[in-house]
């Protein structure tokens, strides 16, 4: 079957999709977006987390056919997504989520290189690097999408809030402490800007 949807602001189309394929498979193997990771394919690890119409979901549990006509944001588009959110006033009040309208009004800009050098990062991406929250990095894309969405809803999270929001994202390397540091850092920096 054919599936048409929007990924990181760009319309995408996948052909000859097997009906049992997940959104994750389509992103990784058909659209050249392997940033969302395939660690468990059973919704337990969160490494495939993307935003579907603004809502964080495990893309391994979304059937490809279910995304027809919908909006998906992956880790590859996170920096631009965060930038455009900031440009339109972001979520300083803490009261707003991303409405479907916002998600649809959003369009990605190109990345400058294959190597990632010079890439513009979202605050949460930068914080993960700075706090040492990245080791093997396999859980990182899913955590970033989840953490970014939490900070959008809740700019001043308590530690318990952070832990709850990230409880669907397994990490095997860090023991989570540096991930906590990273999210606190991103929240603090977000607060300074505002």
């Amino acid at each position: 079957m054919r599936v048409s949807f929007t990924v990181n602001g760009r319309p995408q189309e996948a052909d000859d999709v097997w009906e049992g394929e997940s959104l994750l498979y389509v992103l990784r193997e058909r659209l050249g977006l392997p940033g969302s990771k395939n660690a468990c394919e059973q919704g337990e690890c969160g490494s495939c987390t993307v935003r579907l119409d603004g809502v964080p979901v495990c893309s391994c549990l979304v059937a490809a056919g279910q995304v027809e006509g919908r909006e998906v944001v992956t880790v590859e588009g996170l920096a631009d997504f965060a930038k455009q959110r900031a440009e339109r006033g972001g979520c300083a009040s803490g009261a707003c989520g991303t409405s479907l309208q916002d998600a649809q009004g959003w369009a990605a800009q190109g990345q400058d290189s294959q190597t990632g050098e010079g890439a513009e990062l979202s605050p949460v991406q930068q914080a993960f690097i700075d706090a040492g929250a990245v080791q093997c990095g396999f859980c990182t894309p899913g955590l970033l999408v989840a953490a970014d969405e939490m900070l959008e809803r809740n700019p001043n999270p308590s530690d318990a809030d952070i832990r709850e929001a990230l409880s669907g994202n397994l990490c095997r390397c860090t023991g989570y402490e540096t991930i906590m540091d990273a999210v606190r850092l991103a929240a603090a920096r977000q607060g300074e800007v505002v």
Partner: protein
Amino acid sequence: MDFLRPASWEEALAAKAEHPTAVPIAGGTDVMVEINFDHRRPEYLLDLNRIGDLEEWEVGAESVRLGASVPYTKIMENLRGELPGLALASHTVASPQIRNRGGVGGNLGTASPAGDAHPALLAAGAEVEVESVRGSRLIPIDEFYTGVKRNALAADELIRAVRIKKADGPQQYSKVGTRNAMVIAVCAFGLALHPETRTVRTGIGSAAPTPVRAKVAEEFLNAALEEGGFWDNGKIITPSVAKQFADLCAGACNPIDDVRGTASYRRHAVGVMARRTLTWTWESYRGTAARTEGVA
């Protein structure tokens, strides 16, 4: 495999009538795991995501009509007052990502004894609204679960909504797992006080082939509360009553040993949860809310 994408409820019913083996998929949190792990290869997948009605709810005078696909996150956020037991149960479901997709319709459709919503539905009292091209019917929750991962749906029927009685008293929900988040229930327990009818209802998960009520325990407690005038005098429930209630709840279990826990632990834990949830709800009923409320 064929992927059916009905744009409306009527189309979905027609598709299900035409292809009774079609497997409905909404949140995908059960079905996709089975597909990814090659445990299941349905002939047809019937996508319900395009039917907006299923994600809506209406709060009526007596009950809440909860669309089958209302995500657990929405239940937690919006229905804490009306459906406190179910809101607590929703909060124990897996992870935020899963709660953003999964809904009660999926729990009912799968009818796993470990489904988190079941004990809350049993305790609150609910009817499952199912429909086919032949028409619509309401299945009382007590008659819905017919066996391990089996329910009372006919092959051509789909779950449209659940009608859950609005809380008329305190409700609690408790679930044991071997991890502090994102865990499938070793066993679970729901309890609802119904001051209007002066009854108590329960629900037990993962401790019998189907979700069950502890009816003997309910009858015992109803009688004990009535006899002691507890509903009126608001006295503390005596430890011996609480203990006997807990023992009867444990006795209502018919659990198995599996990788998640032993049968005897399940019985034990259900007893402990029964006693605690009774204490919490009763304290709340007495107006002296326990210090620590579950967050939903």
